[in-house]
Structure formats: structure tokens, C-alpha cells
């Protein structure tokens, strides 16, 4: 009954303990000491990895290009500080598996010397294409966590004639306050970034959606936007996952993106608020994306705060800076507690996607006993996409992945709402992640078997061709031999004939001689 009175534009979602107060009132720390070594993975974005163009032993300046973007969907990476390239090697990635990824290691020289920056006099005089190119060259990617190359999205927006740029400042994950602090402290720069994005996409207006648990950020942003009538700042209710772009779009416009469509299909492009700030730096200051604001929090951290960290800094050093008690850390998470990744080790670098480092102690986490599903359908109510998590999980448990796909597995955003509310503590999202991975594996296996068939076919054809060629060669040799034999035969015959003729001539001569003698 209560559901009838809820806002019809909000579907599903949960309200978890926020834990934001620890960090939302503390200014962003800018005084993190320069690390001795920086570890910069060549892939920190969706798409193809960047290709390194520096050599070991080479000196680099802060902001210098280290690896260039490959292909349309890719992004370059830059040196976060000046120093020498110590190595290009495989290094553990900030990923639940901590498997290695190709990483450029810089030994910093402590000078932190910028490469010459060519900041434009009036960035708003630049043509739209130029703005997008600058954003792309600066390696700006979606900083909300999806890390999709921003320039590609801007280009897409320009080509699809969009009417609204939606700036996602929901920051719905518990603990995280990096966007909140950024808006409180650098609202003016963010607004410049938003205006540049509008110009880059030739879009008329922008809407900034901020969850109503961030009143200071809302006020700061509204003040910064006061003189720009085309930028709207609105509050949205605090309800996880409000920061999911489709949820926010649905709430603000009442329209829904089709399941297999994009936001551009309904004339909207969505960017994260931190991305807008990175765009400001990329275009107005000509600075590539080499730092980001990271929330460091959790009960094992003595000084929870937001820190502006150089990309490539080891998480263990960031934790040390925030006085984390390593012996109390029971779980280390990159990102928020709902969708973040638990990391097995802290010696992994901060990357562009890393919006939070949470060091949780025993008291924060519990590993509850998993009980059978009682089909209470609480997860169905909580699902923001409108799926049936319990049904999907039961199919996956029985390895009926196709049935799970029919139920909408591919639309699942892994937000974790269902797992959060499940009274039986079933790891529902784990099932969905497993199934998605398994489906991908199957797809790859299908691809491989197709490739194998093709390879075997090619080989058989080649073998057949070689056989035919050999046969033809053998035939040619045989024919040549036969022809030579025939020739010899002919020559022999001729020789015989000639001999006979000679004989007859000589006989005749003899006869004639004899006659003459007579």
C-alpha cells in the first residue's frame, strides 16, 4: 500500500547507513608527501590499453605523455610527477584478483617539475572539436567509476544532437564524499568544466543532480551557477543507487533509457561531476588527469578524510598518510562498500577509477550465514532495474544461464541492493557476477572453436593445394622425362636412318667404284 504513495519515478533502491559525516566536513588534503615511486598502469579506462612510448631510464616531466591511446575507445596516461622511468613491467592491479597489469614505474626526483603548459587565453573561444580533442589528449575518463573515455562521450553527444547534459553528483555510495568535497571547495571550476562540456557537445543546457544529503555542496553549486541560466542545480532524494545514471535520469526527466539503448537515444548525455572538474583542468590549464580526490575512510582509519592523490601512488602509502592501523584492517575496499572491489593487498596503485579507499575493521563487516531462499521477494522490491533477483539466482545455481539471461541478467547493474536486503544473506550479486563472467567465457570459447574450425579448414585447404601442386609437379617431371625419352628415341631413329642412308650411299659409292674399276 505504501508503495502507492512513493514517488513513482523512483524504483527500488535502499537506504544504507551513510557514514559520510566522518569525511564530508574535512577539507581535501593537498599535502600528501610525494611518493618515492609511482606505479601507473597503462589501462585505467574502458577500451584498449594505452601503448607505452617511454623507455626505461628516460627522464620525464610532470604531465608528460607516458603511453598513447590506441584506437577510438582508449585513453592516454601521463606522468603524475617528474622523475625517471624505473621500469615498465607487470605489477599487481587494483582488482579483486590482484593479477598483474602492464605498469610504468616512475622514480620521482622530488622536483615535481611541470612540462611547459600551453593554457589557452580564452578556452570558450575554442571550437567544439578542439575542446573534445583537448579532453581526449588529457586522458580524462569518467571519474564516477565507469572510466569510459570522456572525449568519446562528448563526441557522441555532439553527433547525436543532445538537448541536456546531466551532471551526476549523486554520490550515493555510503562512505564516499569525494564529489561532495569537490563541489564544496571547487564549485566554480566545476561549473567552468560543465560549460566547456556544453560547448564541446553544442548542447543548450545542463542539469546537476545532487542527493539531498549534501546541502553544503548544493548551496555551493547553486551559487556558482547563479549567473548561468542554462545550468540547473537540483536536489534528488537520497536513495541508493541514485548515482546510477539511469536512475537519476528517470527521476529527473521521468523518461527511461531503453534496455539496450543509450542515454543519447533520448537526447541526454550523463557525466560525473568530478569528470567536469577534470575537463576544466584539461582545457583551461592544459593539465592532464594525473591526480584525483580519493575518500579514505573506514573504522581502521584514524584520520578519515579526502585526499588529492597522484595517480599511481600506492594505496598503502595513502593509508599511512591517513594514519590507518593496518593490523585492524579486516577488509580493504577500492570504491564504495556497495559496488567497490575488495582488494587482497594494499600495495596496488591508485588509478583513475579509484574514488575511495575504505579500510574496514572487524566491527564494520560481518560474514553472515547463508540460508535458503524463502521467496520473500524483498530483492524484487529493492531492485532498481525491476528484475527478479531471486529467480535469476536460482537459475544460475542450477547452471541454467540462458534462463537467467531471459530474465534480464544482462540488465543487472551489480548495484548490490538485492544482496543488501536479503534476509537469508544470499550473495545474489556474486551469482550475477559469476554468471556474467561465465557467459563471457562461453562466448570466448565459441569464438575460439569458430577460429579453430577456420584454422583447420585453412590448413586442410593448404595441404590439398600442396598435394595438388606436388602432383602437378610430378606429372610435369614425368611428362618432361617422357618427352626427353621420345626425343632421344627420335634422335636415335634419325641417327639410324642417317647411318642407313650413309651406308646405302657408301654401298652405292662402292658399287660405282667397283663398276668404275671394271
Amino acid at each position: 500500500m505504501l508503495a502507492l504513495f512513493e514517488n513513482p519515478r523512483l524504483r527500488g533502491g535502499i537506504h544504507a547507513e551513510e557514514h559520510k559525516a566522518e569525511t564530508s566536513g574535512v577539507p581535501i588534503a593537498l599535502d600528501m608527501p610525494l611518493p618515492k615511486k609511482l606505479y601507473i598502469p597503462v589501462q585505467q579506462h574502458v577500451g584498449k590499453p594505452a601503448e607505452p612510448l617511454v623507455k626505461v631510464g628516460e627522464k620525464v616531466l610532470k604531465g608528460q605523455l607516458l603511453a598513447y591511446s590506441q584506437g577510438t575507445i582508449s585513453a592516454p596516461v601521463h606522468a603524475p610527477s617528474s622523475g625517471e622511468i624505473a621500469d615498465v613491467m607487470d605489477f599487481p592491479a587494483p582488482h579483486p584478483s590482484a593479477l598483474p597489469i602492464r605498469t610504468i614505474i616512475i622514480e620521482t626526483d622530488g622536483l615535481d617539475q611541470w612540462q611547459p603548459l600551453k593554457a589557452p587565453d580564452d578556452p570558450f573561444a575554442l571550437p567544439a572539436e578542439e575542446i573534445c580533442a583537448l579532453v581526449g589528449a588529457a586522458g580524462v575518463v569518467g571519474l564516477g567509476g565507469a572510466v569510459f573515455p570522456s572525449a568519446v562521450k562528448l563526441d557522441l553527444g555532439r553527433k547525436n544532437k543532445i538537448h541536456t547534459l546531466l551532471i551526476n553528483a549523486g554520490e550515493c555510495e555510503p562512505y564516499l564524499t569525494c564529489d561532495d568535497r569537490l563541489m564544496q571547495e571547487r564549485a566554480g571550476e566545476i561549473v567552468t568544466g560543465i560549460r566547456l562540456m556544453l560547448r564541446g557537445m553544442n548542447a543548450p543546457e545542463a542539469t546537476v543532480g545532487i542527493e539531498d544529503n549534501k546541502p553544503e555542496a548544493f548551496i555551493a553549486m547553486r551559487e556558482a551557477c547563479a549567473e548561468f541560466a542554462n545550468i540547473n542545480v537540483v536536489q534528488v532524494p537520497t536513495r541508493y543507487p541514485m548515482g546510477w545514471d539511469r536512475q537519476m535520469l528517470r527521476y529527473l526527466t521521468g523518461r527511461e533509457i531503453p534496455a539496450d539503448g543509450r542515454a543519447t537515444d533520448i537526447g541526454v548525455v550523463i557525466h560525473n561531476v568530478a569528470t567536469a572538474h577534470a575537463v576544466y583542468r584539461a582545457v583551461c590549464l592544459n593539465q592532464p588527469l594525473i591526480t584525483r580526490v580519493v575518500t579514505v575512510s573506514g573504522s581502521a582509519v584514524a584520520k578519515p578524510q579526502n585526499v588529492e592523490v597522484l595517480i599511481g601512488t600506492l594505496m598503502s602509502e595513502v593509508l599511512d598518510f591517513c594514519a590507518a592501523d593496518k593490523s585492524r584492517v579486516a577488509r580493504l575496499i577500492m570504491g564504495g562498500p556497495m559496488m567497490g572491489d575488495a582488494l587482497p593487498i594494499s600495495e596496488v596503485p591508485v588509478v583513475k577509477a579509484c574514488n575511495g579507499i575504505l579500510a574496514l575493521s572487524e566491527q564494520d563487516i560481518e560474514i553472515p550465514e547463508v540460508k535458503p531462499c524463502i521467496r520473500c521477494s524483498t530483492c524484487v522490491t529493492a531492485c532498481p532495474v525491476g528484475l527478479l533477483p531471486l529467480e535469476m539466482a536460482s537459475r544460475i545455481r542450477a547452471n541454467q544461464l540462458d534462463a537467467a539471461v531471459d530474465l534480464g541478467l544482462k540488465d543487472c547493474i551489480n548495484c548490490g541492493s538485492c544482496s543488501y536486503v536479503c534476509p537469508s544473506n544470499i550473495p545474489l550479486v556474486h551469482y550475477f557476477k559469476f554468471a556474467s563472467g561465465e557467459l563471457y567465457k562461453r562466448q570466448q570459447m565459441d569464438h575460439k572453436s569458430e577460429q579453430t574450425k577456420r584454422l583447420i579448414d585453412d590448413r586442410n585447404q593448404r595441404m590439398e593445394r600442396i598435394r595438388l601442386e606436388q602432383e602437378a609437379e610430378a606429372r610435369r617431371v614425368m611428362e618432361a622425362r617422357a618427352a626427353r625419352a621420345k626425343e632421344q628415341e627420335l634422335a636415335k631413329q634419325k641417327a639410324q636412318q642417317a647411318q642407313q642412308a650413309q651406308q646405302s650411299i657408301s654401298e652405292a659409292d662402292n658399287k660405282a667404284a667397283v663398276e668404275e674399276v671394271r
Partner: protein, 178 residues
């Protein structure tokens, strides 16, 4: 009246069809070895063909006739080998058995003599090299058929499990009571 006729007709129809099916099942039955049925039921049934037979039933026939070993099915893994061995009364050494893991061949560069025998037998052209040059296996194209391993005179070709990289790491299946 209509109801009565419907009941009569449907009952008659049901009896007739049931009877004819019963007779057909008895007299038109296809004879088959019940053991093959049992073995086939144990197999994964994905007709993957990894055993070299066109499907699970031909594989089951081969196992029962003794022309194929009970270890023929890679996807079935150790549990299937165990069940088959029990069913057929065969002794099988399970201590060495391990569940099928996709494997690829790899050349050990120290012992390769460049004899070219391996790439002549490779069905997918996954081995590259030339005479008296060290050969290499293109892992993406290798299907793990082990043909090259058998012809290598120096045993420099060995099967290795495929290395998991960041790109193809996947979440394991949750172990849950639910």
C-alpha cells in the same frame, strides 16, 4: 447428451491410444544395451566432441565395448571417471587424475632443436618456426590436442594450464546453501 458423448469419445480415444502405445512399446522396441543407456546418462550430454566421438552416445558405446578408456571425457572430470569405473568394474588410477583444465602446449626453448616435426602435425597451425630455428606456440590458436607433444623427439613440448590474466579472470561460483 453432448457431455456424455464427449466423455465416451475421449475415453475411447484415450484407451485406444494408450493401448496402441503400449503395444508399440513392446513390439516395436529398438533393442539397445541397457549399460550404454546408463553410461550415457552419466555423461554431461553436451555433445562437445572433445573425446573424439561425434557425441555422448557414440562415446558411451565405445566405453562399453572397451574401445575407449573411461577417462575419455574431459568435461566430466574425475567424478565421471570414478562413476564409470565403478559401473564397468574397471580399475583406474585416480591419484593422477585431475579435473580438466584448458591446457596449451608450450615450447621449452632450451631443448628445442628446430626439427619442425611438431608444426607439421599441428591441426590448427598454432606452431610457428623453421628448420633449425626454435619453434613457438601461438597460445590463442592452440586447442590442446597434444599431437605435437607426442612427436617431439626432445620432449621440449609440454602442456601447461592457460595462465589467467586480468582480462579473463572471472568470479567463481558462490558456494551457498541457498
Amino acid at each position: 447428451m453432448y457431455i456424455l458423448s464427449a466423455i465416451v469419445i475421449l475415453t475411447a480415444l484415450g484407451l485406444f491410444l494408450g493401448l496402441s502405445l503400449g503395444i508399440a512399446a513392446k513390439y516395436l522396441r529398438v533393442e539397445s544395451d541397457p549399460l550404454i543407456e546408463k553410461v550415457e546418462a552419466l555423461m554431461p550430454g553436451s555433445q562437445c566432441g572433445q573425446c573424439g566421438f561425434p557425441g555422448c552416445r557414440p562415446a558411451a558405446e565405445a566405453v562399453v565395448s572397451g574401445s575407449a578408456p573411461v577417462t575419455l571425457c574431459p568435461p566430466g572430470g574425475t567424478s565421471l571417471v570414478e562413476q564409470l569405473a565403478k559401473l564397468l568394474g574397471v580399475d583406474v588410477d585416480l591419484s593422477q587424475a585431475k579435473d580438466a583444465e584448458p591446457m596449451v602446449a608450450r615450447v621449452s626453448e632450451d631443448t628445442c632443436t628446430g626439427c619442425t616435426r611438431c608444426f607439421k602435425v599441428c591441426p590448427t597451425d598454432a606452431i610457428v618456426g623453421a628448420a633449425k630455428q626454435i619453434h613457438a606456440v601461438v597460445a590463442d590458436a592452440c586447442i590442446g590436442c597434444e599431437k605435437c607433444v607426442n612427436v617431439c623427439p626432445t620432449e621440449c613440448l609440454q602442456m601447461h594450464p592457460i595462465e589467467v590474466t586480468l582480462r579473463d579472470w572471472r568470479w567463481p561460483k558462490p558456494m551457498a546453501a541457498a
